[in-house]
Amino acid sequence: MRSFFSALLRSKAGLFGWIILSIFVLAALLAPVLGLDSPVRGSLSARLDPPTWTGLFSPGPHPLGTDQLGRDILSRIIYGSRVTLAVAAAAVILGGIVGVGLGIVAGYFRGMTDRILMRLVDIQLAFPLMLLALLVVAALGPSLRNIIIVLALTSWIRYARIIRGQVLAVREREFVQSARAIGSGTLRIMFRHILPNVLTPALVVGTLELARVIIMDAALSFLGLGVPPPAPSWGRMLADGRTYLSTAWWIVTFPGLAIVLTVLSVNLVGDWLRDYFDPKQRGLK
């Protein structure tokens, strides 16, 4: 663990990513105790109020302004981080469990199992993700749960492909042979020997997917199929506010900034994790 942090401190980009991400996660966790305005209820009289910058230091009503319904944007962004991050994380984890699971099974058993999985992957690859997501959301309805399912659906394949490749390599590693040689069962080999050794690539895929899923959620919102209101998600805020782009720039700019910063930091963390876990990248020692 110490080397983890010392490695982190050496990588400025990785550190930056971790800090930004931690801020958002903390804000999301602490949202209810920060004493914010309601993110859902607005006041029609306070519609499209511009940001009061001084409000950051001396209490003003809306530091980042209000949206088209008079809701406080700061509060919506902070509460929105809960929705956005939770949806993204849930989708990425769900997709990860499915993808890693299938990847391990396919890579470990190979043969028919593998062939079936690879054909599934082919099918999904040939099916443009965005259209699949749109179709499925349109079919199932844009509830929070369905959005998570859809995003996970577009995500599992990337895990499965990469994990399968990793497993094909790991299963030939001699410690796996050795586990078979001592008579370990299949489950034990999969969980104790293979899974821990493919978790880091899965983690790296996960961070990249997290970034992609957040962007995809925004695109779905743009097409009217994102996380439904009143839950404030960043994508939704961005999409709803887009028509006000030139009259009330703050409605779009701040959630947009939140997305860009989060995706950026997630990517930085992902890159850093890859560098950290990839021995090839870690000098000689």
């Binding site: 040939a126 099916f127 993700l129 965005m130 259209l131 743009f222 030139s246």
Partner: protein, 306 residues
């Protein structure tokens, strides 16, 4: 080689079958199009009659069988909305989609290759930081936001380019650039890490030990090996561009297949959804087939294995 091609062909057929099957069943979950096709005030009887006209009153399984049968002959049925063969409706929009996708792909690949190469060769220097920051921003910016900003700036404020629409090369600039930003960001990041990996390879050391010029090493020894994964990536990106540029097409009023399919999803025009998705899947499969062959050109070991 023949066996390899036949195998590939079979795989492609399975992939397309899977796609058309999924799209068939998902569209049936979409629900009943009759409410959308008829004007307000339509009675349930009218709706029932329309459903019968559209063949939607049949048992699902029978619908599926006749659907598969018709597809085999290239018939995707009559569009509910357009009142003519769905595939025709989709094919009309295909040139626009292809034009945008290929332009974005070529532009994005060029930008991405240049950026990725600059970043990899300037490891640890400012140039790498700047390029990678832009690449990350390119991936972190929602496409529609970028698109709207570009319209406001280049079309409304400067009036250099049209806000949207299709036709002249000028119309192509903004949407293609918007998509290319994302494409180039992905490619730049992938290429950079590939290049860094390949630069560590023993044969690059061999090339340096031969005293070759850096340009020769980069192009012949590093570039070719680093580009192989990029080629795969291009195949996948192409798939996303063909069907996934819906958002860009909407922002720039680009009459592509993506937007058509969105519209068809909104109006539950099943035949158009099916034809559109099937066509995109088909093109994707064909492109990836070509990419597979390209692999062989790039890497003799793969050529040999076939």
């Amino acid at each position: 080689m023949i066996r390899y091609l036949l195998g590939k062909l079979a795989e492609s057929a399975i992939a397309i079958w899977g796609v058309v099957t999924i799209v068939f069943f998902v569209t049936r979950i979409l629900g009943d199009p009759s409410a959308l096709l008829l004007p307000i005030g339509a009675s349930p009887e009218e709706m029932a009659r329309l459903q019968a006209d559209l063949g939607l009153d049949q048992p699902l399984f029978l619908q599926y069988l006749s659907y598969l049968g018709n597809i085999a002959t290239g018939d995707f049925g009559q569009s509910f909305q357009f009142g003519r063969p769905a595939m025709g409706v989709v094919l009309e929009r295909m040139p626009a989609t292809m034009e945008l996708a290929f332009t974005a792909l070529i532009l994005g690949t060029l930008l991405g290759v240049v950026a990725g190469t600059i970043a990899a060769l300037n490891r640890g220097r400012l140039a790498e930081l700047v390029v990678m920051l832009f690449a990350l921003l390119g991936q972190a910016t929602p496409v529609f936001w970028l698109g709207i900003m570009l319209i406001l700036f280049f079309a409304v404020d400067l009036r250099w380019l049209p806000t949207g629409g299709y036709g002249t090369p000028a119309h192509l600039v903004l949407p293609a650039f918007t998509l290319a930003v994302f494409v180039s960001a992905s490619i730049a990041r992938l290429l950079r890490s590939n290049l860094l990996d390949v630069l560590k390879e023993d044969y690059v050391r061999t090339a340096r030990a031969k005293g070759l010029m850096p340009r020769v090493i980069l192009v012949w020894h590093v570039g070719r090996n680093a580009l192989i994964p990029v080629v795969t990536m291009i195949g996948i990106i192409m798939g996303e561009l063909l069907g996934g540029s819906v958002v860009t097409e909407t922002v720039f009023s680009w009459p592509g297949v993506g937007r058509l399919i969105i519209q068809a999803i909104e109006t539950k025009d099943f035949p158009v959804i099916q034809a559109g998705v099937a066509l995109i899947a088909f093109i994707f499969v064909v492109i990836n087939f070509a990419i597979d062959l390209l692999y062989g050109l790039l890497d003799p070991r793969i050529r040999e294995r076939r």
